[in-house]
Symmetry: C2
Subunit: 580 residues, 2 copies
Amino acid sequence: SPAIAQQQGSLPELLNLQRDDGQWVMPAKDYSATRYSSLDQINILNVDQLKVAWTFSTGVLRGHEGAPLVVGSTMYLITPFPNIVYALNLTQPGPAVKWKFVPDTDPRSIGVACCDVVNRGLTYADGKVFFNTLDAHTYALNANTGEVVWQVKQGDVARGETITMAPLVVKDKVITGISGGEFGIRGFLTANDIHTGEQVWRAYTTGPDSEVLIGDDFKPFYDSLKGKDLGVTTWPEDQWKIGGSATWTWLSYDPELDLLYHGVGNPGTWNPDLRPGDNKWSMTIFARDPDTGSARWAYQKTPHDQWDYDGVNENILVTLTINGKPRKVLVNFDRNGFAYTIDRATGEVLVAQPYVYVNWASGVDLETGVPARNADKSTKQGVNTTNICPAAMGGKDQQPAAFSPRTGLFYVPTNNLCMDYEGTEVAYVAGVPYVGATVKMYAGPGGNRGEFVAWDGARGRKVWGIKENFSVWSGVLATGGNVVFYGTMDGWFKAVNAVTGEVLWTFKVGSGIIGAPMTFLGPDGKQYVAVYSGIGGWSGLTVAGDLSLEDPTAALGAVNAFSDLGRYTNKGGMLYVFSL
Amino acid sequence: SPAIAQQQGSLPELLNLQRDDGQWVMPAKDYSATRYSSLDQINILNVDQLKVAWTFSTGVLRGHEGAPLVVGSTMYLITPFPNIVYALNLTQPGPAVKWKFVPDTDPRSIGVACCDVVNRGLTYADGKVFFNTLDAHTYALNANTGEVVWQVKQGDVARGETITMAPLVVKDKVITGISGGEFGIRGFLTANDIHTGEQVWRAYTTGPDSEVLIGDDFKPFYDSLKGKDLGVTTWPEDQWKIGGSATWTWLSYDPELDLLYHGVGNPGTWNPDLRPGDNKWSMTIFARDPDTGSARWAYQKTPHDQWDYDGVNENILVTLTINGKPRKVLVNFDRNGFAYTIDRATGEVLVAQPYVYVNWASGVDLETGVPARNADKSTKQGVNTTNICPAAMGGKDQQPAAFSPRTGLFYVPTNNLCMDYEGTEVAYVAGVPYVGATVKMYAGPGGNRGEFVAWDGARGRKVWGIKENFSVWSGVLATGGNVVFYGTMDGWFKAVNAVTGEVLWTFKVGSGIIGAPMTFLGPDGKQYVAVYSGIGGWSGLTVAGDLSLEDPTAALGAVNAFSDLGRYTNKGGMLYVFSL
Ligand SMILES: O=C(O)c1cc(C(=O)O)c2c(n1)C(=O)C(=O)c1cc(C(=O)O)[nH]c1-2
Ligand SMILES: O=C(O)c1cc(C(=O)O)c2c(n1)C(=O)C(=O)c1cc(C(=O)O)[nH]c1-2
């Protein structure tokens, strides 16, 4: 009936589009965030013949995260600040710029972006492209013409609110998060009407249940997550109002369960002594009703964070056979070093195993959902706790993993970093960093700062790994050709056999890769693989931000870990498109 | 004898190196400035298989002119302002940065560079690389370590003096010019000792003979060039002191005749009514003794310039058969639209024919050397003279041509632009633009703004041409494989059959090409072709400088001619290296 069609909004269109592997219409390819495409023209037998088909300079240096979209025969790109959007006509050789949109992004946002002025991409629906700008606005543009359909202000840069994440459209709503966990913001997730931009709901991540949108149908699996207004009572008085808990990365959605999944970041400040308690709902995975924003379940991975194990990483929705039974799960590679396989209908943790070297906790109790901490890796004000693994950048940061249904494996770009961490006194001032810790990061055991890992999410174990000198800060693409693609911070783009982990092909791009590779069919019927080159992000700030290397704890501890990066790569801003 | 060896300085080494086509050790490949390499692994039969071998982001946006060097297994690159120098180790896959040098270039130079903050390259000799910085310094670095051997200040940015040109080493001297013709500087050419940086000579381009280094052995071919202190007497009183006449492009050298060739730019101001007279030695080709700087002959192409036909274009030294006799000539494709074939021992003009559409003069009188002007294309103060061809950017600007001894042809990247020009009142203020004209440029007959032309220098006629939408602002490479390479402002890199002009291969790079392609053998014995991508220069300023398009006469008239460029290309800064 027309009434139902209306309610479903763009859902039928987007379900159709995401099944078409010739296109790539949302940030992670599909609602499940698998970053898997069945395309197999490029496969393990011929990928060594891959070559550059064309390149496109975005005209902006600084970190290039995320992936372009391909809708029909048009490619859409967005740059780091000032967030220029390009539509490229793929039917013309070159290809040619169809339109270009330069938003009037407030430059004050540069100073309050914690971790480089990145942007993780656009999303498409209903003839429009949607994206966020660093100064915390959401835009809808006419996908054909580049004209602004609407724009809304989601936050205030003067209070340290920015946006770097890519939105997701569910039915007739576009969902966006907020950044600013290091500025004492109060996190939230917002749904706006895709046609008008009107705000439909906003769910805060701290505060009373009424504002977190926790109501009668909230059924968390574990007891520690039950109770009234935990978003207030697990904080010292009023601290939840400046408690960070941002929502700055990837979203996923299960159309059958009709549940939207998102993570919540670290509590503010980084000095844990200033906020005794579990600090809910920081570090939490939420399942929400996309129509109303109501929370259905939640799971807090790191109660009372002491390490900036910012819990926002992507939730990949797959079916895995666990103890002989197919289970609809969500797999999350958390910053805290554990990979969680969770029943995505209920929030029950089925598997939780370290996917990188971890020493802050000996494991996660599956009965209670609570990690078993090692007391000597707790951090405190005035004490320098040393050799904590993983470091604040986590076992994995923004860089999204992929899942291949062909191999049943997850492909995870990881960090191997440890740190020294000391809480420091800090007072909240609006729009000023509210960090409260001195951190120094460095390579973990073995000296390699990263590893590209194939992970068995049912058994919770590593299948193989490829060690890398630098953290693997790029996303991953898995394909039907049994090839997985990732890039390195020093600019090597790599194609790997999805089964064996054998490196089949490498290509040196101009600047380090922190973007996410994607694939599509051109109007000529050929398969292409595209990836941004452009070093930056938190780990790449030494180069992207021309940082002085004198203070090893600068850039929230990133300088020490990546002081040599400038010897390996330069600033850049380029899209590379490859074909056979 | 050791005495002679000493005097010859680096000459034997550089003659050897320039004969080795595996390397590329000076800006134009050889002293003759042919930009020809005999390498033929890549040839007309297989060039359609060319693909990107690797890329390198320079970390700087803005116009990338010139070419990298390859000395042994090291590649040297220099960026636009701030003029970062990289040494890349070609024996490592990637290749890896061996060292990086960031000069402390005075940012005030940005504001006094007339035509983007470009740099046209380095040159090598005696274990050192030499280059100039935009703030008018010359550097010698240890080629192995990147350490500064010496640096000298050649000019003063506060007076509008900058340097964009690539130096040339002759024996034990490094020769550099100066920019600032639009700022009322007084042009000069300087020789510094390659070991110490000490200034050996400086030849001014205006003023008394003693300072122009005109002495007893000065033997110009034409009578109009003879007389005492013409650099003073052909100007209104004192105007020669602010007479521009810069020396901002390419140098060449004939080791047999032991003569150094260089051009001299436009007289200042652009308002011709403020400087009646021939304005010597603006618009002049000089042949000089490289040891002393003494002028041996000179030829003024455009006496009393009225159009900014800045006479600095490169002089290519070849032997051509003219009227049945082999002649040692110099071929110069001047901004004024005429291609001059000149006896390089004497300065006699043998051939002078238009290589683009020209209407300001009907020809050049070979008896007197003087052009026959069309009175109605003269420009004046207070009168807007319309439809003058070529425009101020000339038939060709900085973009250097190539010569192939295999075909006997020159390959010339040209502009097809015309203009309206009106002289305006202007007073000299040090360090402030001293232009005195309002100029509007636009496409010439046919509407294509450029053409890639094959030219017969003996007969003075075009053999074939490839029309381009934009001016061809890139340099050219000619090879033994009978392939010539050039790039377009909208980013197409092209390989052309040197005989027929057939386009054999094209590749779209990320940003427009205004650099000069070069070729070398890698340590693996394979032939590579390299070119910078990075739009800019005078013609590319609309994009490189984010110019407002409102005033068509802005950027000295460039805005009108290239207002659509931003729809075709973006800012960039990347080296592309291609191989089979
Ligand atoms: O708490 C926040 O609001 C917030 C925002 C961002 C961001 O917006 O990029 C990052 C982080 N935190 C963060 O903790 C982090 O490690 C990080 C890395 C990056 C990056 O793009 O490389 N961004 C961010
Ligand atoms: O008179 C001078 O000093 C001077 C300097 C330069 C320069 O240094 O780049 C250019 C010019 N003139 C000039 O006339 C001109 O057309 C030009 C083009 C370019 C370029 O790089 O695209 N530079 C210059």
